[in-house]
């Protein structure tokens, strides 16, 4: 008996017991759907976050204090910023900006919110791709130089504090001091280093005077973060090396002492995130894989029942000349067909789930060929592995005993 005959025989017997075949498949359907849905949503999340990081630009480098090595002081200051921004110090550095941030009480009229308030230099906005405004202006060099009491607010802050009112020209109070709102940023939704939509930006000098008076060890006014834009992506590594060298010299760190600052480039961030998301996706896949395993055990269970129930049929087939191999192939194919059909149904279901769930999570799910191949391969494998034992049992029944079976 050839393979296609065995295949048709298997289909025949699955068809003659439709409800049971469908229920058996359900385990595999759910397993495969779970694998597909979880992996594709995982891929979608990874892709959208990677996208966001890349949209900020992989040539952005942030420098912050490493408190373990700075003796508890804030290590960075405006003079550091000045030296880093000097075109003569490094040709790999395009632009620099600084920021000092903290949580503050922000009041407008009767509304009072606890928000992040960042003091920034004027170049903070272009370096972070945040120059798009809903209304008004950004913070410019004169504001920083004079320590003006002006504020640029994120879109969420605008709607939370002002509702339908037009915020430009209005006055808000931060820590009891009034600031004039001069600009409202467009919604950005970026999630790194705080959400800009929920932040109030004021000139750095103003913030240093009124909100964040920390000083460095040498008594200069401190900044919490310095942003450096490398001249190009290729020069990002060079820029990182230059920053290290410049700051070590600035801070007077001798050659065998540790840096009192930390440098994070977007490339580092991407790499770190990649590791996290790969781990997470694998973990989700493993969880889904377990449900597939349970589905496989379901198949084995039903196939064993089926072998017992069809003992007489097996006896008849053997009596009229079926070889062990014929019976083995028939039962093995039955379980493989069950799991493959279930696998394909699972792909469709998983795809629907991932699209629907992706819609809720605001993530475009990504179903790639490798996910589908993995799921189908796994399903077929499950059918084969869990089908072997029942099929072997069926094939080794002795015909006379099988015929006598009632």
């Amino acid at each position: 008996m050839n393979f296609s005959e065995s295949f048709l025989t298997a289909l025949d017997s699955l068809q003659s017991n439709k409800l049971r075949s469908a229920l058996t498949m359900l385990g595999v359907i759910i397993g495969v759907a779970a694998v597909i849905a979880l992996l594709s949503i995982g891929n979608g999340v990874t892709a959208s976050i990677t996208d966001e990081i890349e949209s900020i630009g992989t040539n952005l480098i942030t420098v912050s204090t490493d408190r373990e090595n700075s003796g508890g002081y804030n290590a960075l200051s405006l003079s550091d910023l000045e030296v880093l921004g000097d075109p003569l110090s490094s040709n790999a550095i395009e632009d620099v900006a600084a920021a000092s941030s903290g949580a503050q009480n922000v009041v407008y009229g009767s509304e009072s919110l606890n928000l992040t308030v960042s003091g920034v230099t004027e170049s903070f906005f272009p370096i972070n791709n945040m120059t798009d405004l809903l209304a008004g202006d950004l913070i410019y060099e004169p504001d920083v130089e004079t320590g003006a009491r002006v504020a640029v607010i994120g879109s969420t802050v605008a709607s939370d504090l002002f509702g339908a009112e037009f915020p430009i020209g209005e006055s808000i109070k931060v820590n009891g001091v009034s600031y004039e709102v001069v600009g409202v940023l467009t919604e950005s939704g970026q999630g790194f280093g705080g959400n800009p939509d929920e932040t109030v930006y004021i000139p750095l000098t103003t913030a240093q005077q009124r909100l964040y008076p920390d000083r460095t060890r040498s008594g200069e006014r401190a900044v919490s973060t310095i942003y450096v834009q490398a001249a190009s992506e290729d020069l990002a590594e060079q820029a990182t090396e230059d920053i290290t060298a410049i700051l070590r010299e600035q801070h007077g760190i001798t050659y065998n002492d540790e840096d009192d600052f930390t440098i994070i480039s977007q490339t580092d961030l991407l790499a770190t995130f990649d590791v996290i998301s790969t781990t997470l996706t694998l973990f989700l896949g493993a969880v889904a894989g377990i449900s597939l395993l349970v589905g496989g055990i379901g198949i084995m269970n039903i196939m064993l029942v089926s072998v017992t129930e069809r003992t007489r049929e097996i006896g008849i087939r053997k009596a009229i000349g079926a070889l062990r191999r014929d019976i083995l192939t028939q039962f093995l194919l039955e379980s493989v067909v069950l799991s493959l059909v279930g696998g394909f149904a699972g792909i469709i279901l998983g795809w629907i789930i991932s699209v629907v769930a992706g819609g809720y999570l605001d993530v475009t799910s990504i179903i790639d060929a490798s996910t589908v191949t993995l799921a189908v391969g796994f399903a077929a494998g499950v059918g084969l592995i869990f089908g072997i034992y029942p099929a072997w049992r069926a094939s080794s029944l002795r015909p006379i005993e099988a015929l006598r079976y009632e």
Binding site: I316, L323, L403
Partner: protein
Amino acid sequence: MSHLMELSNITKSYEMGTQIVHALRGVNLTIDEGEYVSIMGPSGSGKSTLMNIIGCLDIPTDGIYKLDGIDLSHMSDDEQARIRNQRIGFVFQQFNLLPRTTALKQVSLPLMYAGLSRKEREERAAAALTRVGLGDRLDHKPDELSGGQQQRVAIARALVVEPNIILADEPTGALDTKTGEELMDIFNELNEQGITIIMITHEAEVAEHARRQIMIRDGVIVEDSRSTLENIPDMELVPA
């Protein structure tokens, strides 16, 4: 001339729990091509065991069984399956048809295991069904057929491989007398066409259709009409 079947000193024992049951205690029997033999005996006499051994469904504990001069006593499962498939047609008391399967498919099944093409299988299966008078019932499933019709499907399934032996185990046991008689006519006809028929029964009237009656009791043959009627016992007993 060699015999079609030659059983020498066949024994068969089973273990049932702690007890050993001796179903056959040394059976000597020869059957020639074209014979029509009935095997009778009370239940527990070993007639079904004998039938299983003759039909290659089981192997003897001891002794030699030759079919066409070939020793089958130590064959593997699959070798036995091949012999059953090509040489022997089975007709069982309980019909033993596959549920939910059309007559045409039932009958073409042995040919599928023999490796024939679908077209050839269906042609031969249809011919076999026509031969037993069911040419107009090809697409009927067992539950749509009467007992007699089901048994005729089983006969067609036995015939379709063109075996030279048909083994029937109580073929009329589950049928009424009239249907049983009709069935016996088919067996008579097949025997006239040269097919060797060996039939197990406990009904004397059914056994009378056969030209040779064998009686078995407690695992040994106690009576064989050929040796008494033809009166040539010596030739049977003296080894060649």
